[in-house]
């Protein structure tokens, strides 16, 4: 079949003809091989222009189309749609930018004209080598697996489950609730009581679309958005194993309190009545705060920032829960003296300052300090602290409560490897984009909610769980199909030596090694067409469907001639 390329130069109003001699350009390209039509038009992106192009495609029986106009970012999609409507495969189209890249930056008209002609000739050389790519449609499984049964996992499950979408929560401990479940009171100044959590757990237990698998862990996950195969094993003595298929995975594995601090500095574990925040929460839940000797403390030191320097980040929630402890201690019938030792007060939400002011009013002492040590001297707990001027002071207290850093829980690395998603340098899961995509992992179909991606409070965790649900509800619609990327990589099995270099550079886990054939293969549903594998292959066995070496070479060669 003969190649008939149509080249259309858009005037873009005054933008282009003022700076480029369009007729000269057309004269230059019309005689080229395979160019069936070379014409100009006032404004191709207008309704008239689009109709004109569609008519031209049919009338001139074009097999390929080149539009020389503005940036592809503006109108590449527009003209691809015109191709579709005129019956031409939209990938047999090339857009050449002669506005931003010629008219708008080359002051000399003769030079701009010469460059525009060059750009267009290069586009023509390229488009002749384009292949007609076609979209695929994949049916999807709308069900969701939630890893982690804490507040984030619970909220995500309640937001997602429906008659047409089943949800499985997998929790390695033997009950739902996570860290929030161990608290006896939530932030009361926000008007929230922990019964809210119990109500949510009850709702889950009653919901027939949510299955809860406690005492279980994920041991293998393979697949992609719409089609993940998950292997689950129970962590008890009877290792029961099962497989489920889901369309999306939510990682809601939470965090834990760091216990790696130096006991010589902070005294926990080897000094009576120096406890961690979790132990103090347990005391509140049990209804009594008592020293080892059975008496209530008359003075309590709350030590903030345990591990802030060592870990290199602020864990965000400690100042607030320390205030909660302080309020609780001061509200009791025989209030203890409360001393809070902190480096910075982190009160970022609009009601936090007020909560702090309330604690001050109740007589809580706040001491800013850079270096804190908790020691036992002469049978008493002594907090040694340096004031701002560097002077060391000591304070004797009955009890000390440590607020340690929030850190990733054990097993995070293993899970990250299984899911093929990265951890950042703090060991928490890394978001797809720190600013604009905070609840997605870089792999499509995997989402992250709550403290799994970094320290945050309950409200933020709940919002993130709802956000992950929002993304899943929007993307994975029961009955609808997904269209994966078309411009993907292809491996030529004849040239592949099975070195697996491509596997090691694929960020998306889209390549697998076919041991029985001794070659690698691209999963077309996952590949995003980034081209990393193409560049990495030592045998040149991999090519990109829309960026072949020949296409690129011809385009560049023509441009530099």
């Amino acid at each position: 079949m003969s190649v008939r390329i149509g080249v259309y130069v858009c005037e873009c109003g005054p933008n282009i003809p003022d700076k480029i001699d369009i007729d000269k350009v057309l004269e230059d390209i019309a005689p080229l091989n395979n160019v069936a039509a070379a014409k100009r038009f006032r404004l191709l992106c207008s309704n008239d222009g689009k109709k004109y192009l569609a008519d031209e495609i049919r009338k001139e029986k074009l097999t390929h189309l080149v539009v020389a106009a503005c940036s592809p970012r503006e109108h590449e999609k527009t003209f691809m749609q015109v191709c579709v409507e005129a019956g031409l495969n939209p990938y047999l189209f090339q857009m050449v930018n002669i506005r931003e890249q010629c008219a708008w930056m080359i002051p000399d008209k003769a030079e701009a004209t010469r460059m525009a002609a060059k750009h267009i000739r290069a586009g023509i050389s390229r488009v002749a080598l384009h292949g007609p790519l076609s979209k695929k449609e994949l049916t999807v499984n709308p069900d969701v697996l939630i890893i982690g049964g804490g507040i984030s996992g619970i909220e995500a499950a309640l937001s997602l489950a429906s008659k047409t979408r089943k949800v499985a929560i997998i929790e390695r401990s033997d009950s739902l609730g996570g860290r929030t479940g161990k608290l006896s009171r939530l932030l009361l100044h926000q008007g929230t009581d922990v019964s809210v959590l119990r109500e949510k757990i009850e709702k889950i237990e009653k919901d027939e679309n949510i299955s809860v698998l406690t005492g279980c862990e994920v041991t293998d996950i393979r697949g992609f958005l719409g089609n993940f195969e998950v292997r689950i094993e129970s962590s008890g003595e009877e290792a029961v194993s099962r497989s489920i298929v889901v369309g999306a995975v939510v990682v809601a594995t939470g965090c834990e309190l760091w216990d790696g601090y130096d006991p010589a500095v902070y005294g926990a574990g080897n000094i009576d009545d120096v406890v961690t925040a979790a132990e103090f929460e347990d005391m509140i839940a049990a209804g009594k705060i008592l020293l080892k000797n059975g008496k209530p403390p008359r003075s309590v030191a709350l030590i903030h920032c345990v591990g802030r320097k060592e870990k290199g980040y602020c864990s965000k929630v400690c100042c607030l829960y320390a205030l909660k402890f302080a309020h609780h201690l001061r509200d009791s019938r025989a209030p203890a003296e409360v001393y809070e030792f902190y480096s910075d007060l982190c009160l970022p939400e609009k009601t936090d300052q007020e909560y702090f002011d309330g604690a001050v009013k109740k007589g809580v002492h706040f001491l800013r300090t850079e270096n804190v040590r908790v020691e036992k001297r002469n049978g008493h707990i002594v907090v040694e602290h340096g004031d701002g001027a560097g002077k060391k002071k000591t304070l004797e207290v009955d009890m000390a409560v440590l607020a340690p850093a929030l850190v990733p829980p054990p097993g995070s690395e293993k899970l990250a490897r299984m899911l093929n998603i990265p951890l950042d340098e703090t060991g928490f899961f890394k978001e797809a984009h720190a600013m604009l995509d905070p609840v997605a992992a870089p792999i499509e179909g995997v989402y992250i909610a709550g403290c799994a991606s970094g320290p945050k409070n309950i409200n933020e965790s709940v919002v993130q769980a709802q956000a992950a649900s929002g993304k899943i509800l929007s993307t994975l619609v029961p009955g609808k199909t997904l269209e994966p990327e078309v411009k993907i990589s292809v491996i030529n099995e004849d040239l592949c030596t099975g070195c697996q270099t491509c596997l090691s550079v694929c960020f998306y886990g889209a390549i697998s090694f076919q041991a029985h054939k001794g070659v690698s293969a691209v999963n077309e549903a996952i590949c995003r067409g980034c081209g990393s594998c193409v560049g990495s292959c030592p045998s040149g066995a991999i090519s990109s469907r829309h960026f072949t070496y020949r296409q690129l070479y011809e385009e560049i060669f023509e441009a530099l001639r």
């Binding site: 290199g312 009160l347 609009k350 300052q353 905070p438 709802q466």
Partner: protein, 427 residues
């Protein structure tokens, strides 16, 4: 139940909610008060902590919104009244005349030069002017100007013969007889994403703001170092000199407002880095109270800023005075007592406050304001985006001060709630 959604505000939160809802097949009515979309985020050159280009980051999303078949964008539009209930709200919208056709205009810019009227450009925080027919900045989307009817000589009657823009336009895009419109939108749910303001620095006489002095409020400084801003990113004082000594004052308005705005410690560090990068020999000193830098990445950003030689002083009672042709910052170092710092330039980090039209907006929506003036969340729940009206959600800084990732997460959360409250089957 009506499956379509009203989104008020086309900043980063409104854009995210719109795109996610449109992706789910819903029709989104995106109502924006300004003549462009992008909100405050597009005013920044870079965003912390990765210091990526803010406009580059947001532009693909803006393009996607404008090119989406499911998102109907109404610019220069506001909500007059919201009535109804979940699944069946009626929103009355007023749309101001743009006087330029969004369909015909291709953004060639031929109409700007001939216009005889210059006015203060609010996008540039008053640091530069623009014509009565203009886009607010280079790269504005949509790339179509609007005419200010109060300043335009033709429209305000001062010179009915002036048609300079119309004469320069090759696309019949100037519409002098454009009219304001009022219309109703029927929707099932509403996402309020109207954003924030910074408290006006004039409220704090102790910082010597105003009167042509080199004291800048944070958003003004953002425009100063933006490469599409009034100085194309050159850090120069009002008289053209390059600053050699810069003081940055945190917590402006914190005591008065009664809360910490959460973002200023980070953007102040961003400013410090920017200044040191552009003017390595400059002295930079930040005056702060507590450092609010929570989360896994913010402390590191801050520590790195310190290692660039930026000074940090924990101070109270900070004041700025004009002295000997420059500025002097007087402060009480909390550990070391009183001190002064000579500066060529001072930057203020004011409190993030509710937009001044929040009382009216809350009334029109039927929502309450909380004790700080922000739109109030439903009490007793764990999710701050829910309000007392089922189906109406408040997200982003309209709900309270927060950074970009939290704003985006809240927008996505509202979508999550809406898609499950109003499933497509019942639409």
């Amino acid at each position: 139940m009506n499956p379509n959604i009203l989104v008020l505000g086309a900043g980063v939160s409104g854009i995210e909610a719109s795109l996610l809802l449109a992706g789910a097949g819903r029709t989104v009515h995106l109502v924006e008060k300004d003549m462009l979309i992008g909100g405050q985020t597009i005013k920044f050159e870079e965003v912390y902590p990765n210091l990526e280009c803010s406009t580059c980051m947001v532009a693909p999303k803006q393009q996607a919104v404008l090119q989406s078949a499911n998102i109907k964008v109404y610019l220069q539009s506001e909500l007059e009244k919201l009535e109804g209930a979940l699944g069946a709200f009626t929103a009355r919208i007023t749309k101001k005349a743009r006087y330029v056709s969004l369909a015909n205009c291709i953004g060639c810019g031929a109409c700007y030069e001939p216009c005889p009227v210059s006015l203060n450009n609010p996008f540039e925080e008053g640091l530069s002017t623009r014509k009565a027919v203009a886009v607010p900045c280079a790269g504005a989307l949509p790339n179509v100007p609007a005419i200010d009817p109060e300043q335009c000589l033709h429209l305000n009657g001062k010179d009915r013969n002036c048609q300079a823009c119309k004469e320069a336009c090759m696309f019949d895009a100037i519409l002098f007889d454009d009219k304001d419109e009022t219309f109703d939108l029927e929707v099932g749910a509403v996402v309020v994403a109207t954003g924030f303001e910074l408290q006006e620095a004039t409220k704090f006489p102790q910082y010597a703001y105003g009167g042509g002095k080199n004291v800048y409020s944070a958003l003004e400084f953002e425009r100063l170092f933006a490469s599409n801003g009034p100085t194309e990113g050159k850090l120069i004082l009002r008289d053209g000199r390059t600053p050699q000594s810069v003081g940055i004052i945190h917590c402006v308005g914190r005591k008065e407002q009664g809360y910490c705005s959460g973002v200023c410690c980070m953007y102040a560090a961003k400013f410090s880095r920017f200044i040191k990068h552009k003017i390595p020999e400059a002295k930079v000193c930040e005056f702060h109270t507590d450092l609010c830098i929570p989360g896994k990445t913010y402390q590191k950003f801050h520590d790195q800023t310190r290692s660039l030689g930026v000074e940090f002083v924990r101070a109270e009672s900070v004041g700025v005075a004009a002295k000997n042709g420059g500025l002097e910052v007087a402060y009480q170092n909390v550990d070391r007592g009183p001190g002064t710092f000579k500066a060529d330039m001072v930057i203020l980090a004011p409190a993030m406050v509710p937009r001044r039209d929040t009382p009216e907006l809350s009334e029109r929506l039927g929502l309450k304001q909380d004790s700080r003036g922000f739109l109030a969340s439903r009490r007793g729940g764990l999710s701050p985006i829910e309000t007392d009206i089922e189906g109406v959600f408040v997200v982003g800084c309209a709900q309270g001060p927060k950074d970009i990732p939290e704003s985006v997460a809240q927008a996505e959360a509202a979508v999550g709630k809406i898609l499950s409250l109003i499933p497509e089957e019942t639409g």
